[in-house]
């Protein structure tokens, strides 16, 4: 039995080597997240406060990048108006895979205080781009941002890279049988 043979053995449907290799890759992506330096409204001020010395976002291994090409995740911090929405969609498309999105604050989650009468406000940024973590608050405390970041890191760590196809197959099987 060589190591190669073990690849075919069932270890969460991927083999031991692929499993651990995947863990390392996921560890890298979870621990080094560069974010797009991009603020929209009130939450952006708290976002700046979160970057500052008392809370220090860089502890999580994040570095601000000004250009979307080099960013790993984007934090939508503030009200997304319809005029801004197309720009955000463009930014999201410019980012390189793998990419993530955290929606921060009531406005980005679903329009917030402007959801009822705000004719000009997009009711939730998840209508244009996929959102991975929702952070509630108006604006959230800086620790709440970091809580969202921890949740995102947890999500990335459990992601499947090689097992993706297997997983998808299983899911479709379940769907078909159902």
């Amino acid at each position: 039995m060589g190591l190669l043979n073990k690849l075919n053995q069932p270890y969460e449907a991927g083999g031991i080597i692929l499993g651990t290799f995947e863990d390392i890759l996921n560890w890298g992506r979870a621990r080094s997240d560069w974010y797009l330096h991009f603020g929209l409204a009130c939450c952006a001020i708290e976002f700046m406060a979160m970057n500052a010395s008392h809370f220090d976002f860089m502890r999580f291994g994040t570095i601000p990048r000004a250009t979307p090409r080099q960013a790993d995740f984007i934090m939508i911090t503030g009200t997304v108006t319809l005029k801004m929405a197309e720009r955000i969609k463009k930014l999201w498309e410019q980012m390189a895979e793998p990419k993530y999105c955290i929606s921060v604050g009531s406005c980005a989650n679903c329009g917030g205080p402007y959801w009822e009468h705000g004719y000009h406000v997009l009711k939730g940024v998840d209508r244009i781009i996929p959102v991975h973590v929702y952070v509630p608050g108006c604006p959230p405390r800086p620790e709440a941002f970091q809580d969202g970041m921890i949740k995102l890191q947890k999500m990335i760590k459990e992601e499947a890279i090689f097992r993706k196809r297997k997983k998808l197959e299983e899911e479709t099987k379940i769907e078909l049988s159902a």
Binding site: S106, C110, G111, Y134, P136, P140, E143, I150
Partner: protein
């Protein structure tokens, strides 16, 4: 020329001064609070997640009315007088309304604190909890009511029955009243008709 030398010297000197300041900060005590392990003190009146104490809520809906963003949804059912379970609100008064639905959409809430100030029984208040970010927006829609669907259905049925009874009673009363009225009218007619007749005859 003198100006030039002075500028060059100033440029050099202010850089040294700046470097001195940053160097002293290099060894100063760091102010960072390492969040998940260590926590920054939060005052008890901080306005974070809302919490409703269902046993305190009397269903007055003033919170839903004052809310600037309409993120609170309250539905109430009247308590039937002959309900076997006659609940007391925690402050001692009799409950007049059941609250089967009390939902707060934290995705919309603007945490202004207006609802907590208008509440007559202090049922709704802000807590210091802020760690409830989720992977799905639906999880931010929180249902606070402690009534199970069966109980709601039961109370609804009870109310409907009671209302039907009440309606029947009302109808009965109305019928009675109408009867009485018609009787009275007839009587009045009977009393007044001779007069009119006599008038006509005149």
């Amino acid at each position: 020329m003198l100006e030039y030398i002075k500028n060059v010297w100033l440029g050099f000197w202010t850089v040294i001064v700046g470097m001195k300041i940053t160097f002293t900060h290099l060894f100063e005590k760091k102010v960072t609070v390492q969040y998940p392990d260590d926590r920054y003190p939060i005052p008890p009146n901080a306005r974070n997640k809302l919490h409703l104490e269902p046993t305190l809520c009397n269903g007055c809906t003033s919170c839903a009315r004052i809310c600037p963003v309409n993120c609170i949804k309250v539905e109430t059912l009247r308590v039937v007088p002959d309900d076997p379970e006659q609940p007391m609100i925690a402050d001692g008064t009799k409950r007049k309304l059941w609250v089967p639905v009390y939902d707060i959409d934290f995705a919309k809430c603007c945490f202004c604190g207006l609802c907590t100030t208008v509440c007559p029984t202090f049922a709704i208040k802000h807590t210091v909890e802020f760690e409830y970010s989720t992977y799905s927006r639906d999880d931010l829609y929180v249902r606070f009511s402690d009534m199970s669907p069966e109980k709601v259905a039961e109370k609804k049925k009870m109310l409907e029955e009671f209302q039907a009874k009440e309606k029947a009673a009302k109808a009965e009363a109305a019928r009675k009243a109408a009867e009485e009225k018609s009787k009275a009218e007839a009587q009045a007619k009977a009393e007044s008709s001779p007069v009119t007749e006599s008038k006509e005859s005149n």
